[in-house]
Amino acid sequence: MPEVVEAGEGRTARIVVVDDDPDIRELVRRALVPEGFAVTTAGSGAELRAVLATGACDLIVLDVMLPGENGLEICRALRRTSSVPIIMLTVLAEEGDRVAGLDVGADDYLAKPFGTRELIARIRAVLRRAGGAAGPGAAVYRFAGWTLDTLRRRLTSPEGAMVRLTAGEYDLLVTLLEHPGQVLSRDRLAEMAKGRMAHLFDRSIDIQVGRLRRKIEPDPKEPTLIQTVRTGGYILSIPVEREG
């Protein structure tokens, strides 16, 4: 018996999957149902509106590349009347598509081809945020001159340059920023970072920390931002300002 995912008010979360390819719709539906979601599918913007007219919905998975009215237009139109969470499916995980999706009001995006585990993790994260539960939301963190915009997944250095992080480094940094001044053990870090996203850590936490230090520490050999705790673990030892 699968665990039932509850929406904010304690009922099964209802997901609408919008994609013009019937096979993909069916495959996604089959992947989501065992995870405890109630899934309806739609092949176009018109079908989506028909589905929405018949009942409430907790989250929409929306393909960008739809014939006729495309995903971005549908999303923009929906946002005028509704704040239902939307995850966009893009063809390329490029900045352009990503920003376009976020600009029209999507809550997250996922590049095709995607794995179901990744999709489920994103759906859960977005639902948690929408339900107001404690957890990572779209936020802007500022620390030691650095800025991290989680909506756009963008880290900016004190000099104003965009600093590229690997997925693992990003997850690690977000986890640390969510718990400033707290000692986090390696296991806990790994668990939390994994929970945030579906990225599996191919490398140990120590290696990820080492790489992150090279990118953000003024002197990676004498780290002042991410410090090692002798009992095992790491601590972000500087004040963090959070917006959003």
């Binding site: 089959r30 390329l92 900045e95 081809p113 965009m162 490398r203 990118k215």
Partner: protein, 461 residues
Amino acid sequence: MTRLSTRVVWAVAAVLLLSQAASLFFYHVAGHDARLRQHAVDIGARVVAMASLLERLPGAQWPSVLETFAGTAMQAIVERIPPGQIPSSGHRAERLIADEVARRAPGRAGDNMAVFCRLAGHHHAAPIVGASTLDILDFLGLHDLAGADSVTIGIRIGGDRWLKVVAPMAGAYEVWSLRFMAALFVTSALTVLLAAWVTRRLTRPLVDIARAADGVGLDGGDPVPEDGPGEVRHLAQAFNRMQSRLAGMVEERLRLMAAIAHDYGTLITRLKLRAERMADDEDRQSVNRDLSLMQGMVDTTLAYLRGREGAEPAEAVDLATLVQSVCDEMADAGGAVAYRGPDRLPACCRPNSIERAVVNLIDNALKYGGGAEVSLAIAGNDAVLTVEDDGPGIPPEERDRVFEPFYRVEKARTLSPGGVGLGLSIVRNVVSAHDGEVRLEDRAPRGLRVVLTLPLSPRAR
């Protein structure tokens, strides 16, 4: 290979030389001969007339008659010379004058007259016999060898008295005068220069077309200006039409690729979702491997098409973290990728394009070389990114072509699936969009080194 203009100049010079030579020849043979005859008739007639006049007058009146020549080019005197053999220079004028004298007064010909042409620079080695050699030489004026060209005519006017007339050899060799030759040379040189200038002008559009033809790749080129003479303009128009047909074909091909890439994207998404339902772990993993190869091809194609559209804005980006992240991610995915360089390097660039270029280079290094050594350094105002492998390398003659879209080194076709022949084209497009440079080098002892030079900040244009 000789240039067309050079050939035309040579041809013009040759024709000019030939025609000048011909006209000189005719001037010399025909013109000169006519003048020489006229001269001979003139001198012969005067000398005969004067000899007859002198014979009819008493000797006391001779000086006043001879003086009538004063002020003309001719000189006339009466001398006594001992009999002797008068030499001959063998010049045609001698024969012509003697003939004229014989025609007018047959009695004065033969031993009663002598004609001698004296030409400057000519050697008069004719034998002079008899006791009075010196007198004869004196009579002919041969002691004064520096004199001008002249003809001396002697006519016996009774006993041992001779009328001697010295006349200039008019116009004999003035063809070869310095002024004439200088004029000839100057006009010839001007003609050749004019020909050179005209042909240069005529052939310049051809040079432009050739240059444009060199610049045409599969990703287009600039049209050539359609001007110049008719034929050249036709050539330029035909060339431009061919170029636009070529560009049209490439566009068509790219549209097709875009359509295929999009459809493949859908299929790959389906297959990836289906693969997750496969029971056998090993099967699922190999299907996923194939799918990521296919996805790589689709991504490359779309990236290339996107790159042609341009559009990504440049922004402040830390280049070192970008390269490091790509290296780390590819190393995490199982590739032997090592990064050497600074931890941070702020620059101004288009991050997604640069990332795509770096991914493509490392991808190639992993595919053909089994590993990639990536290094980043600063040289002046440029960032220098080097990707090295120890694979088979690329032979020098193919190094330009590998940047063309769809071109693949022969071995690459069989070696690896998952390539569409666009990887290096994308790199080149990205680099040129950044005003940078890319070059391929040999790496010792084996392997390939790709060097990217990117300005750290956009250059003022």
